[in-house]
């Protein structure tokens, strides 16, 4: 159905454009004056009036049609006194029968009736959908064609419309963010209705298993997120211990020592690191690094588990090296050349110049790069899922299994559970906390970077 309606709209676009252009030429010839804008703009004007109202109808139909039809079917359904119905199952059954009449065998007469009601409603909806699209397009084109006079400034109007379109496009991302935040908040509130917020934030027991069926022997779940955040923090610290020195020293080499040619080759190569899918890092961590960490732990007498915070953190550190090196390299490069010359001109050598003049001047930007890298590290999922394990240990020992916020969200959402128990809802609470942390880190980082930029430009 929606394919043919797309064809319909395409035809509308094409013909309205042709119509608009020939109509304005005709009109200005009739009046003997030149039109204020080029004919194309009048054509675009007609096109927009033809297209956008139709698109609005199209999408609202697509969104609401099924819902409305279902509501009508359910409200007309002949419920049998005393029977218990699950509305979702009932609807699925009705839809199945309607789409595939062979399923009708053995179904109750109410369901078969409802199914035929459903199909007839769909047919009505389809016909009225096509008619209304055509009518809307014609009305739009009609309205626009009345304005097709040579003295009408079509170009100005088009530019205003285009501005509206641009505003609409840019607000999509913003509204999506707001929507995500609200859904996080509301689902978290449902979670906190069942689990106290103090337990969540301060208790140290994470055991999110609760009885699903009555009579099942499972302990009461406990939802203390402290071990999870501690695990996240531990992995992040390990990652930063790897990424900060390597990234910063790489940046210093690239910005201060490397020749132009080396820099042009190495920088893109480093940025490829950032483009490797994180799951690839994940199995690299699991297959190569984790066994090495375990063997190393054993050789120095520490009992390391096969997946560990150290393995995950080290690989994650490698992953965020390009963030730090690339950003820091840009920052160091934007330190004015005159400061380098001033320092060298006094007789400082290169190392002194870098240590005492360039790094202090670039420090705010470098710190900003670190913070962005941290927020990347704590939001990272796949590496830790694969290489850090899922055990909520409250430990400072990087050779042990730990788990992170992102891993627990994955664990909570895997499986076919409804979103009505604290175990699945905990994902939203964890997500909310994670979101707040990374948001703050990003804001601080951007502020620092901005302040630094203002000083030199």
């Amino acid at each position: 159905m929606f394919f043919w309606s797309l064809v319909l709209i395409a035809v509308g676009i094409f013909s309205s454009f042709i119509y608009g252009r020939s109509r304005i030429k005709l009109n200005s010839k009739k009046q003997g004056t030149k039109s204020k804008s080029l004919p194309t703009y009048y054509a675009q004007y007609v096109l927009m009036w033809c297209l956008f109202p139709a698109l609005i109808v199209y999408f609202s139909w697509a969104i609401f049609q099924e819902q409305i039809i279902q509501n009508i079917v359910i409200s007309n359904f002949e419920f049998i006194e005393g029977a218990v119905y699950n509305e979702g199952l009932l609807l699925a059954e009705i839809r199945n029968v309607a789409n595939n009449p062979s399923f009708a065998d053995g179904k109750s007469i109410e369901i078969i009736n409802a199914a035929s009601h459903y199909s007839s409603l769909r047919q009505i909806s389809q016909i009225s959908f096509y008619t209304s699209i055509i009518i809307i397009m014609l009305l739009g084109a009609l309205y626009a064609s009345q304005k097709l006079k040579p003295e009408f400034h079509a170009q100005h109007t088009i530019e205003r419309y285009i501005q509206y379109i641009l505003i609409f496009c840019s607000s999509v991302a913003i509204f999506t963010t707001i929507g995500i935040v609200f859904s996080l908040i509301f689902e978290s509130l449902r979670f906190f209705a069942e689990v106290s917020i103090f337990e969540f934030l301060f208790s140290t027991e994470w055991y999110p298993f609760i009885p699903i069926r009555e009579g099942q022997t499972a302990a009461e779940g406990s939802f203390g997120a402290v071990p999870i955040f501690a695990g996240t923090f531990l992995v992040m610290v390990v990652a930063m211990c790897v990424a900060v020195p390597l990234g910063l020293l790489t940046a210093i080499y690239l910005a201060e020592y490397a020749s132009q040619r080396v820099r042009k080759t190495v920088k893109p190569l480093l940025e490829i690191l950032a483009g490797i899918p994180t799951i690839v890092y994940g199995f690299f961590a699991f297959v190569s690094v984790a066994p090495f960490v375990k063997a190393f732990g054993q050789s120095i007498g520490i009992d390391a588990s096969p997946t560990s915070a150290l393995a995950a953190g080290m690989v994650m550190g490698v992953m965020i090296i390009p963030f730090i090196s690339s950003l820091s390299d840009d920052v160091i490069n934007s330190v004015p050349q005159s400061l380098r010359e001033a320092s060298l001109g006094i007789g400082a050598n290169k190392a002194e110049t870098i240590k005492k003049v360039i790094l202090p001047a670039a420090l705010p930007g470098i710190v900003g790069a670190f913070l962005l890298a941290i927020s990347r590290a704590i939001g990272e999922t796949m590496i830790v899922v694969v290489a850090a394990g899922t055990a909520p240990n409250l430990t400072g020992n990087p050779f042990e299994n730990v788990t992170t916020v992102t891993v627990q969200i994955v664990v909570a959402l895997i499986g076919d559970q409804e979103f009505d128990n604290p175990r699945t809802l905990s994902a939203f609470a964890l997500g909310l906390v994670l979101f707040v942390i990374t948001l703050f880190l990003n804001i601080i980082a951007l502020q620092i970077v901005k302040r630094y930029r203002e000083r030199y430009e």
Binding site: I346, G347, V357
Partner: protein
């Protein structure tokens, strides 16, 4: 060559394949101000930057020929650039104080060269350098404020103080007043006149009046060649070369 401080002989400079200086030879006397003048792009700054090997910073720049400072060849692989540059201070076109306090700006050189053993000594050097640069009275109450908070003229004098804090013998100035207003320029020019008593100064300038006011010797560069060099008085009143004549009378450049 009794008191010749810098002796250049046949200096050629190439940027990549483009030759910027053609066989420059020059004799610069001790404790004099020598002005390098000429139209933009004539190579006077390039020559200045050969003297403290600042051109090393430019990857594609190649220098050949001979420059002797105190009879020591400096265009050589073996030259100790760090000690050369501590002997030859430089002041740049745009004031470029470090984003540090006024005190730390001046203290930078003495600290990295290990010229001082104690805090008091360092303070003494900083104060005396600021005094020599004629800035001390203006900033003595705010030595801990950032150097970048000063006015343009003060910043430039801070840069001069920073240069003389390591006790150089030669000061190179690359259009030190081109970013300053006339009053700040006058103050710097007066300062140059005082500094002449203790330092050998080479100044690149676009302003012929400035060259006439502050220098004893003037060298005129044109298209990478040294056209004429001589007493400032003579260059500005009775030059030998017609190109010099044309330039100082404003016919080109």
């Amino acid at each position: 060559m009794s008191n010749s401080k810098i002796l250049a002989n046949g200096v050629d400079v190439y940027y990549g394949s483009k030759q910027a200086l053609f066989g420059i030879s020059m004799d610069i006397k001790e404790k004099e101000v020598t002005a390098l003048i000429g139209p933009s792009g004539c190579g006077k700054s390039t020559f200045l930057r050969c003297i403290n090997r600042m051109n090393d910073l430019i990857e594609i720049c190649k220098v050949s020929g001979s420059i002797k400072v105190d009879n020591e060849e400096i265009i050589s692989e073996k030259t100790d650039v760090v000690s050369l540059r501590s002997k030859i201070g430089m002041v740049f076109q745009k004031p470029n104080p470090f984003p540090k306090s006024i005190f730390d700006n001046v203290a930078y050189g003495p600290t990295i060269h290990g010229l001082v053993d104690s805090k008091n000594e360092l303070e003494e050097i900083v104060h005396s350098s600021l005094k020599k640069a004629g800035l001390f009275d203006e900033v003595k109450d705010r030595l801990n404020e950032p150097g970048t908070s000063l006015s343009g003229g003060q910043q430039q004098r801070l840069c001069i103080a920073r240069a003389i804090a390591v006790n150089p013998e030669i000061i190179l100035m690359d259009e030190p007043c081109s970013a300053l207003d006339p009053i700040a320029t006058a103050i710097i020019e007066e300062l140059i006149d005082e500094l002449r008593l203790n330092y050998t100064i080479i100044i690149v300038t676009h302003s012929m009046q400035q060259a006439a006011r502050v220098s004893q010797k003037t060298c005129f560069f044109h298209l990478g060649e040294l056209i004429e060099t001589g007493e400032t008085n003579k260059i500005f009143t009775n030059p030998d070369n017609t190109k010099t004549q044309d330039y100082i009378t404003g016919r080109f450049g």
